[in-house]
Amino acid sequence: MLSMTRTLFVALLITAQATIVLAAAPPIKIGALFAVTGPASFLGEPERNTAQMVVDEINQSGGIKGRMLLLITYDTQGDATRAVQAATRLIKEDKVVAIIGPSTTGDTMAIIPLVEKSQIPLISCAAGIKITEPVKPWVFKTAQNDSLAVAKIYEHLVKRKITKISILTVSDSFGSSGREQLKNQAAKYGIQILSDDTYGPKDTDMTPQLTKIRTNQSQALICWGTNPGPALIARNAKQLGLKLPLYMSHGVSSKKFIDLAGDAAEGIILPSGRVLVADILPNSDKQKKSLLSYVKDYQKHYKAEGDHFGGHAWDAVMLLKSAISKSGENPASIRGQLEKTKNFYGIGGIFNYSPADHSGLGKDAFVLVEVKGKDWKLVP
């Protein structure tokens, strides 16, 4: 509710400004759906903040060819029914030209039939591979596929000559999607999964699962979850004296994880978007400029570190901005222009959309990082 009032307030302000300054052109309306509250709020909140911040900045610097942008945000609470209602409202009542979000794969899949039918371009911020496979003409996404993160970890295991692993995944949609990918790709890399355990998102003690893993012949443990579970697992592993190399998912790629896990985080390796290590990237990195400016802006506006997830919204708004400035505000021409996006240096990676690929990212969208001295270090 609060976020809605705030969005409306901001919207009013922007409309007011626009009328004063330009006295004519109405703003270009962009819809946004994020799970700002509810179980996926760790995604939705930074995404909403980021989207609003980017739109404000675009407007402050004169909008798109003099036209202001108006961001209309609704909270889906991570609930597919609400997502559909909100999307209907954006399309039918607010008459937006494009939609960014939703934050979760479930919400996105629920509104796809609607945007396809209404022919409104959608740039989803969710990671599920089925969003863009098979390709749907009006649906794009900015979040990296889970399969890329898994591939990155497996490549590293192969390099270390590790073939026997255990996996421990959280029993929610993030964990089960990771678990599926871990199992699907194992054979391709010659990796054998010795034990496949899960834990609940609210569990407080994972020593039973880890005790079981300690007794098998695993050479590494991969854990797939979002805070706080993985931090508990790291601490429990330390308590049990587990000596296996521990890999985590990009779900914990934020400083919060190091805070929670404390000493137990040392030596943990995980795939992450480049935003986490923006300041230590080599200067030749093509994304570095976008990354640094995003991190700095987010810090200034919200007194918090801009993360991986907020980055999905940054990419969505900026992709849209560049499409609108090249082709105008007609939904069909925005869609066509998005599909032609080449070498867009975003937060999540370098985007190259094409009629056959609406996810736009390659394996290099992830880097491996290791926790060393309470900070992230790049793993070569």
């Binding site: 834990y199 407080t204 003690d205 020593t207 039973p208 005790t211 931090a231 508990l232 308590q239 000493d263």
Partner: protein, 294 residues
């Protein structure tokens, strides 16, 4: 590592989680015995204990012990305020209405905690050290010993209070028969007030001793509250050893189940036990069936 060492590890883990469940369960039982209602806000006191300690340590920068004392004090204050504002004015209401009020209160407390402290998870420092201790092939942390020790202490104090002090005996009298107790001059309302104070203090202690291991956030109370409720049901809502054993049984079974059968069934185990007991022995497994007096 052989099977017996594994089992020792499971049992040790289960014992500590079980102790936490016991403390929460005792809170349920004490309020149930004095008022006949099930206080579903019990889990929120567990959350308040952990979150308030975190708040006093990091924001107010108090030393750990002082922070803990303040956290218990404030949780208790919240508990008695809740009794004064929501339970006492409605003494004529049916137990069902009161139970619904406690659910409402739990949502309110959780919501306020979320607004004040945000949605993040926080960790508390261990009470003493972080180095694992080896017990015949299994490992535990000093914090596990703290949990076991403090739970034991609370149970002993609880026992002494209920059996060897005037107000404790008066509270037991209320639990047997409220109108008879008031006829012999016991102030039943005061006893209800006491039971809320004791339960909320106990809940917050459980939250505080567990937080260094399990971390804490505004919503930890839901699951822990339900597990404590299971413990109290297994123990037949007794405010003594029955609930304590119920909690420990639940913790150990969960841990053995997750380790030996499958981790996917961990929560299912608790709720299957709960359902079985409600069907087969609604009076709890440690209590003889009472004859209904008409």
């Amino acid at each position: 590592m052989n099977l017996s060492q594994q089992v020792i590890q499971y049992i040790l883990s289960g014992l500590t989680t079980g102790s936490i469940y016991s403390l929460i369960g005792l809170g349920f039982a004490i309020i149930f015995n004095s008022t006949g209602i099930i206080n579903f806000a019990q889990g929120e006191f567990v959350m308040l204990g952990g979150m308030l300690t975190f708040f006093f340590i990091t924001v107010v920068k108090l030393p750990l012990l002082v922070a803990i004392l303040f956290a218990i004090l404030i949780s208790t204050l919240v508990g008695v305020t809740f009794e004064r504002l929501a339970i006492r004015p409605l003494r004529k209401a049916t137990p069902l209405n009161l139970v619904i009020i406690t659910i409402g209160a739990s949502i309110l407390i959780r919501g306020l905690a979320m607004m004040i402290w945000g949605k993040d998870t926080h960790s508390l420092p261990m009470f003493s050290g972080n180095d694992p201790i080896f017990v015949s092939g299994a490992t535990i942390l000093p914090q596990h010993l703290w949990i076991l020790g403090i739970t034991l202490l609370v149970i002993i104090i609880n026992k002494l209070y209920f059996y060897h002090s005037i107000s404790g005996k008066a509270m037991r009298a209320c639990s047997y028969n409220r109108s008879a107790a008031s006829l012999v001059g016991i102030d039943v309302k005061r006893m209800v007030f006491f039971s809320f104070a004791i339960s909320s203090a106990m809940g917050s202690v459980a939250g505080i001793i567990a937080a260094p291991l399990t971390m804490t956030s505004y919503d930890v109370g839901i699951m822990l509250g339900l597990k404590g409720f299971c413990a109290a049901i297994i123990g037949g809502m007794s405010s003594g050893m029955g609930t304590v054993l119920g909690g420990i049984l639940l913790g150990v079974l969960e841990s053995l189940g997750a380790g030996l059968i499958s981790s996917g069934y961990k929560d299912a185990i608790a709720f299957i036990i709960l359902l079985l007991i409600l069907f087969i022995r609604p009076q709890g497994i440690f209590r003889k069936a009472e004859t209904e007096r008409v």
